[in-house]
């Protein structure tokens, strides 16, 4: 069986699941961020794969480009927030930062 659309989709699905797993299980906020990056990458693979095999033309690639830009912005902001959290709580473990409960 030649490599086709499905192969890429499965790779992206697995990547996506690992991303969710990382988000759910890790305590460190930076690790959560890494999980988010994994998910974004999975989405990007889907976009590009459909752009290659589907009938969307280059729209998929453009979308992937947008996602990459968004990821950059998101990472920058998230890390800035993290630094502030670290300064406030002296930890970045998300399970210790549960002020939301109160």
């Amino acid at each position: 069986m030649n490599v086709g659309l499905n192969h890429f989709l499965i790779v992206s699905t697995i990547l996506f699941s690992f991303g969710i797993f990382g988000i759910v299980t890790r305590k460190n906020a930076v690790m959560v961020l890494m999980g988010i990056e994994l998910i974004l990458n999975a989405a990007n693979i889907n976009f590009v794969a459909f752009a290659r095999y589907g009938s969307f033309g280059y729209n998929g690639q453009v979308m992937a480009l947008f996602v990459i830009v968004l990821a950059a912005a998101e990472a920058a902001i998230a890390l800035a927030i993290l630094l502030n959290i670290y300064k406030t709580f002296t930890t970045v473990n998300v399970d210790e930062i549960d002020r939301m409960k109160e």
Binding site: V24, D95, D98
Partner: protein
């Protein structure tokens, strides 16, 4: 050189002053030499526009170059922005950038030492940018935008010395009076937009000639034209709204030269020239009458004014009246010619007056001057040349255009019977010559009134003299025609500026505007009827002779009155005291406006305030009493029944909350796990796979 290159060039010309403005406004305070940059950008704009005008007038003389792009799509309506390059716009841009450049150079010396030096140049740049925009626009929307920008920047420039109360008041006055005209223009543009769904000139005009009219009638077209003309009334300081212009002399003198000679006030005339093709006969007649009035009234006012700049200001209004009147009577080309020639010599006059004022240490009263001829030789000569041009003496450019206007008016009167217009025109010629030479004699010839200031007067620096020389040289006939008596001989009128094709329906035009032979009106140019041509031809020589006589007699009278003192001026003034007072107090326009509009507005608002206090408040208070009573009742209801229910709900949800708080750990990740499980459950329920 292709058309697209010309368009690109025009865009560059448009944005160069803006770049200068942006840089100057942001760095003007910190950097000392922003004015150099400002002068350089405007200089570059001038060079480019000279190049542009040359290319356009040699290679594309019969073409209208239009470039447009879609700005916004709203539903089915798409709004286009774009540039229009035709002969009048390139000639106009050449004039505008030239005068602007000259004023910039002049200002470098004139404004030296001002504490807001950088900002001043920034404003000049902004003004030049907006004016360039007006010239290049091909649609009403952009025209309106830049129109307002011009209004704004002129406000900034007139009120430049805002510490002075009079200056800031003058700025506000100019702004508000302009706004009144602009409202009319805005309404006119809206009427046109509602009718044609577009702002572009060419589309609107072609639709008019195709028979589509606002409200379906010629009257609608007349109204639309007049409303747009309202904008010109405001900006060009025409008869009812001319009051701002004399006050605007509070601004720096170079600003007066820029705004009130070549650009802003000319914008109104330019606007009328742009929309000339859609003006009906009725509209044109009203325009001509307003033009005639605004030519005559300020001329009489100028006779008695003593402030050097005020005299020039009233003379400006009067000359603008000439142009408007000329447009009104269909002498389109002469109006445009006068626009250009007037731009040069009036700018020269203003700059010359600035030179005088600076030499006299900011003394503006001409009765306190005198004898400056020897102290300021360059200023005197250039001022004299420009005054001759303004008076319409042969060998000057002013003679060519003024003669043409008078001839056109005479021909018009002979065909339609409105003889008052030429009479007004000729008398204005007399008055103009008189007051200009009164000014010159009092300033430069007669014995010095203030010996101390006379002693200290000195010729202005080179940077101020050179602009004067350039402008006065441009006031000579040679640039416009080789024959000093016949303006038609030059390329300017014979090749470049043509009356546009009238797109108004034939029954709404002046009779003589219907072309003699049907189908000959090609090349965007109308051929007026043969009678008109004959009348114009016939009126040419008499008009020339009469206007010359008028001008010479005006000059002669001025010399009699002031130089040789044959007639005692004060006694004459005593004799015609009411007339003198009327003229000296500017026909009481400001007072009338104060009494009618300002007082009326205040009275109306008092009335409204009374209405508000007594009647509306009474109703409100009454209803409040009712409400109070009702709320007492509902308070009781609330306490017993509603609160009972609410308390029960709260208790119930408290119990629920005790259960559900176990799930709320405050950790987002736990929630995500819940989300995943719920998604899984949902997926199982709906089985998408």
């Amino acid at each position: 050189m292709t058309e697209s290159t010309l368009i690109k060039l025009a865009i560059v010309i448009l944005f160069l002053p803006l770049i200068g403005f942006i840089i100057a406004i942001f760095f003007g305070k910190k950097v000392k030499y922003t004015y150099v940059l400002e002068v350089l950008t405007v200089g570059a704009a001038f060079i480019l526009s000279a190049f542009l005008a040359y290319e356009k007038l040699t290679n594309f003389v019969d073409r209208e170059i239009i470039s447009e792009f879609t700005w916004i799509n709203i539903g089915s309506v798409s709004i286009q922005l774009g540039m229009l390059l035709d002969n009048i716009s390139v000639i106009m841009i050449f004039t505008v950038t030239l005068v602007s450049l000259v004023v910039h150079v002049y200002s470098v010396a004139y404004m030296k030492g001002d504490k807001l030096y950088g900002r001043y140049f920034a404003y000049l740049g902004l003004f030049t940018f907006s004016m360039t925009g007006i010239v290049f626009t091909h649609n009403f929307l952009m025209m309106y935008i830049f129109w307002e920008l011009v209004g704004l920047s002129s406000y900034l420039l007139i009120g430049f010395w805002f510490e002075k109360k009079s200056a800031s008041d003058a700025g506000k006055k100019a702004f508000i009076v302009n706004r009144i005209g602009d409202i009319g223009m805005f309404l006119g543009i809206l009427i046109l937009f509602l009718t044609y769904n577009t702002f572009s000139f060419d589309t609107i005009f072609s639709q008019i000639s195709g028979g589509v009219l606002p409200f379906g009638t010629e009257t609608g077209l007349t109204i639309a034209g007049l409303l747009i003309f309202c904008g010109a009334i405001g900006k060009s300081a025409q008869f009812p709204l001319h009051v701002w212009l004399p006050d605007a002399m509070e601004g720096p003198t170079p600003v007066s030269a820029l705004i009130h000679a070549a650009t802003m006030v000319a914008a109104g005339v330019y606007l009328v020239a742009r929309v000339f093709t859609m003006l009906t006969g009725d509209a044109l007649l009203i325009i001509a009458i307003i033009g005639g009035l605004s030519a005559f009234i300020p001329a009489t006012i100028a006779l008695t004014q003593n402030d050097i700049k005020k005299v020039l200001a009233y003379s400006t209004i009067s000359q603008l009246g000439y142009m408007i009147m000329s447009l009104g009577v269909g002498a389109y080309v002469f109006a445009f010619l006068h626009l250009i020639t007037h731009a040069f010599f009036k700018a020269c006059l203003f700059l010359g007056s600035g030179s005088v004022i600076q030499a006299m240490h900011h003394e503006q009263d001409i009765t306190k001057m005198g004898g400056l001829r020897k102290k300021l030789p360059f200023t005197y000569v250039t001022f004299l040349v420009a005054s001759l041009a303004l008076s319409g003496i042969p060998l000057t450019s002013g003679f060519l255009s003024k003669d043409g206007i008078l001839a056109g008016t005479t021909a018009f009167a002979s065909l339609t019977g409105h003889w008052l217009l030429p009479v007004a025109g000729f008398s204005v010629a007399l008055l103009t010559a008189f007051y200009m030479f009164r000014l010159i004699i009092l300033t430069f010839h007669s014995a010095p009134a203030d010996q101390h200031k006379y002693e200290h007067a000195h010729e202005s620096p080179k940077l101020m003299v050179i602009p004067l020389i350039v402008l006065s040289a441009l006031s000579l006939f040679i640039w416009f025609t080789p024959n000093p008596l016949n303006p038609d001989a030059g390329a300017f009128l014979s090749k470049w500026v043509k009356t546009p094709e009238i797109s108004v329906p034939e029954n709404a035009r002046y009779d003589f505007m219907n072309s003699a032979v049907a189908g000959e009106s090609s090349h965007h140019e109308i051929i007026y009827s043969e009678e008109y041509t004959e009348a114009l031809h016939g009126a040419h020589v008499p008009a020339m002779i009469i206007s010359l006589i008028m001008a010479l007699s005006g000059i002669g009278l001025a010399f009699l009155f002031y130089q040789y003192k044959k007639v005692n001026v004060d006694k004459l003034a005593e004799k015609f005291k009411p007339l003198y007072k009327l003229s000296y107090n500017k026909w009481y326009f400001d007072e009338i406006y104060q009494a009618s509009f300002v007082a009326g507005t205040i009275g109306l608002s008092r009335l409204l305030a009374w209405f508000d206090n007594k009647i509306i408040d009474g109703i409100v208070n009454g209803s409040a009493t009712v409400t109070k009573w009702f709320s007492n009742f509902s308070g009781t209801f609330d306490n017993v029944i509603v609160d009972g229910i609410v308390n029960f709900v709260a208790y119930f949800s408290g119990i629920l909350g005790l259960v559900f708080r176990k799930f709320q750990t405050g950790k987002v990740q736990t929630y995500i796990v819940f989300v995943i499980f719920s998604i899984v459950i949902l997926l199982f329920l709906f089985k998408p796979f």
